[in-house]
């Protein structure tokens, strides 16, 4: 398959994830959407890395995966904290910074 196929696949995946982030009410649901977006980015990186005959992209992807893991852990810890203090896990209820 040509490179453009992989890139298009990644783009579709990215926008599905974006749609999820925008529309999900539950905070954890938003995080799942973010996961999808990051996944798409990783596919992009690996595809470019393979088609340009270099391993640097894969190293980059490795780092991205690790950082994503850390980020998810922390994000969920925050969700738990908010749930504990305000008894809600719905993102739209967290609007105390509104103007």
């Amino acid at each position: 398959m040509p490179l453009s196929a992989y890139l298009t696949l990644a783009a579709i995946l990215f926008s599905i994830g974006l749609f999820g982030v925008i529309t999900r009410r539950n905070t954890v649901g938003i995080l799942l959407g973010v996961e999808l977006m990051l996944n798409a980015v990783n596919i992009n990186l690996v595809a470019f890395s393979r088609f340009h005959d270099t391993e640097v992209g894969m190293v980059f992807t490795l780092f991205a995966i690790c950082i994503t893991v850390a980020e998810v852990a922390l994000g969920l810890a925050l969700v738990i904290l908010i749930f504990r203090s305000r008894k809600t896990a719905i993102a739209d209820h967290v609007d105390w910074l509104k103007g």
Binding site: I30, A91, D95, L97, K98, G99
Partner: protein, 645 residues
């Protein structure tokens, strides 16, 4: 130094300035009153002596003497200079100014003796400043210095007219004088700027040189001379800017004698005399000057006939005589106008000071409170009649020759209309002045005649005043009894001095006719004398003998009389212009400012606030909205960067 005209003139001009500074700065001196008066009188006396000597020296050299110092620098030499210009004209004017100023200041010592010392000090400070500024105008070598001193003269007149500032009429009169002359001064300033633009210099001698060597394009000169004339109109009370002079009588009488008879009002005439070479190039403007002068002379004479306040009569008389001077200048013979300026200064000051003595005795300005005062105030009566005869133009008295010169000049210039106006005014002048004499000094005494001043020592001094210049009147006898009778030495002295000068001038000119540039027609002198005598006769018949009824005379000229009582509605015209035009315009501008200018700002600020309120709603606080906005923005950005489907 007694042979250096420049040093003498500088001394003359700067001595009163030094007196003013001293009195103004050293508070104890001013608050003490009489010592400040002494300082001022000493200074102006010094000026008088220096001026006389300078005149003697100036008359002996053919060319004017000029001494100037650089003041404002510029690339091509000095932009503005200060200095003195000494020639027979300016030194003669200096003598008039300092002479009248000295006599007035001495006279004021007694006239204002009831003033508190602090006020007296203030008065003499103003007097010194005025003398300095008037002399500044007289010896100014360039138009810029002239203008600055001219404005200073205006300020001093405001200060002196409004001397009794607690009186509302006095304050208003001072303001009116200031504003009316200011209207003319705008013209003067414009004229000065224009002539600088045209000729590149302010200096009078240089301008004369340029004009006489035909180095100037004279097409723009008409506007310039008209603007200069506007300034003269204001200060010299020509129609219609004459309205301030009668009201200015609210000031103390010595002030009127100094400012509104001999010096400040003559500044306008003097200006035209100094710049006659400019006006000679614009005959149209000169014609205007002549006609306005004639109208002023006649109108003021009519107005003087219906006045009941003695000072108002004299004020309108001054306006009328100023019209005479201007007409002579307009006819092209500035010398005749200048001569009349000099003689008028002497006898009008005399008349004012005499009126002051009467007012001081009677404690009222109104002629209905006066009558039969010749018995009580014989000296005052004599000097007043001398002054009146001079003003009426009777031979052997001062005004005779100069009035004749003016009439002859008007004829020689070909201005028949103004000539007839002047002739009529001469008749009226004799009439209304002798009306004053007969009503005030003769006829039945009125109940309100108060007590006059002490027994006079003036008889002794009459012999001393035979000379042509003032002696030292500084010694104050200190004993002034108030037991009815002629005024004391300090007031009588100046009166007699002026009276004798008037007689001397009159006698001299009657016997040696002044040189004139034109030929007097033979019939002019008899006609003029007849006109004067006719006026005197009419006044005699009406007011002394009661042979002609004053009421019948009044009703004979009914409409004119009514118009005269309303001051020909000139004041009303100015007031209407102010109220309707100026205030109306101000209201319109105010409305525009409030609703349009401010309105625009208020609308913009209101929109800003409302916009801010609306935009605030974007901050919902919800992450989902923010991310949506982010994504939408990303899409827009992608489009903008050249993407398309």
């Amino acid at each position: 130094m007694m042979n250096d005209p420049i040093a003498l003139v500088l001394l003359a001009v700067l001595a009163p300035m030094a007196a003013f500074l001293l009195i103004a700065v050293v508070f104890p001196l001013r608050r003490a009153g009489r010592p400040a008066a002494m300082v001022s009188i000493l200074a102006v006396l010094t000026s008088l002596v220096s001026a006389i000597r300078a005149w003697q020296l100036a008359g002996s050299v053919p060319e004017p003497i000029r001494a100037i110092w650089d003041w404002l620098p510029s690339e091509h030499g000095a932009f503005a200079t200060v200095g003195v210009l000494i020639d027979p004209q300016s030194t003669l004017m200096l003598i008039l100014v300092t002479l009248v100023a000295t006599l007035v200041q001495i006279y004021s010592l007694e006239y204002l003796h009831t003033e508190p010392p602090a006020a007296l000090g203030r008065y003499y400070a103003y007097q010194s400043l005025f003398v300095f500024s008037m002399m500044g105008v007289v010896i100014a070598p360039n138009l810029l210095q002239l203008f600055i001193c001219w404005e200073l003269v205006g300020v001093c007149s405001y200060l002196l007219i409004g001397f009794w500032y607690r009186k509302p009429e006095a304050a208003r009169a001072a303001l009116k004088a200031f504003w009316t002359t200011k209207a003319g001064d705008v013209g003067l300033l414009i004229g000065i700027v224009l002539i600088y633009r045209l000729a590149g210099t302010f200096d009078l001698l240089e301008l004369r040189q340029i004009i006489e060597s035909h180095g100037l394009d004279v097409t723009g000169l008409g506007l310039i001379t008209f603007c200069l004339y506007l300034g003269a109109m204001g200060k010299s009370a020509q129609f219609p800017l004459h309205v301030w002079l009668p009201d200015a009588m609210e000031g103390p009488t010595p002030v009127s004698a100094l400012i509104h008879a001999a010096t400040m009002v003559t500044a306008g005439v003097y200006l035209l005399v100094r710049t006659d070479f400019l006006f000679a190039q614009t005959p149209d403007v000169l014609a205007l000057v002549a006609w306005v002068g004639g109208i002023t002379a006649l109108m003021a004479a009519i107005l003087a006939c219906v006045q009941t306040d003695i000072k108002r009569v004299l004020a309108y008389s001054t306006v009328s005589q100023l019209g005479y001077m201007m007409t002579a200048i307009g006819a092209g013979f500035a010398g005749a106008g200048f001569l009349h300026l000099l003689t008028h200064g002497v006898f009008k000051a005399l008349l004012f000071l005499g009126a002051g003595a009467v007012i001081h005795a009677v404690h009222s300005n109104e002629m209905k409170d006066m009558g039969g005062l010749f018995r009580k105030l014989p000296q005052v009566g004599i000097v007043f009649i001398i002054g009146t005869l001079s003003l009426a133009g009777v031979p052997l008295f001062a005004g005779f020759a100069s009035k004749e010169e003016v009439l002859g000049a008007t004829l020689a210039g070909g201005f028949m209309g103004p000539f007839l106006m002047l002739l009529t005014a001469a008749f009226l002048t004799a009439f209304y002045m002798f009306r004053v004499v007969f009503v005030v000094f003769f006829g039945p005494p009125k109940a309100g005649a108060g007590h006059g001043h002490a027994a006079n020592h003036a008889a002794n001094h009459a012999a001393n005043h035979a000379a042509n210049h003032a002696d030292d009147h500084g010694d104050d006898h200190g004993k002034v009894h108030h037991s009815g009778g002629d005024p004391g030495f300090l007031m009588a002295g100046p009166l007699w001095t002026l009276a004798l000068i008037a007689l001397a001038i009159g006698g001299y000119f009657t016997l040696n006719h002044p040189e004139s540039e034109f030929v007097l027609p033979g019939w002019l002198t008899p006609v003029a004398v007849l006109v004067a005598l006719g006026g005197i006769l009419l006044a005699f018949l009406t007011y002394e003998r009661q042979a002609v009824s004053a009421d019948a005379l009044a009703s004979a000229f009914g409409p004119i009389r009514r118009a005269a009582l309303a001051k020909f509605w000139v004041d009303d015209l100015f007031e209407a212009m102010y109220r309707r035009l100026l205030l109306g315009l101000a209201r319109v501008i105010g409305w525009t400012d409030r609703y349009i200018v401010d309105g625009v700002l208020n609308v913009i600020s209101a929109w800003t606030l409302d916009g801010g309120d609306a935009l605030r709603r974007i901050q919902t606080g919800r992450v989902g909205d923010y991310i949506f906005a982010l994504a939408a923005g990303l899409l827009v950005l992608m489009f903008w960067m050249g993407g398309s489907f």
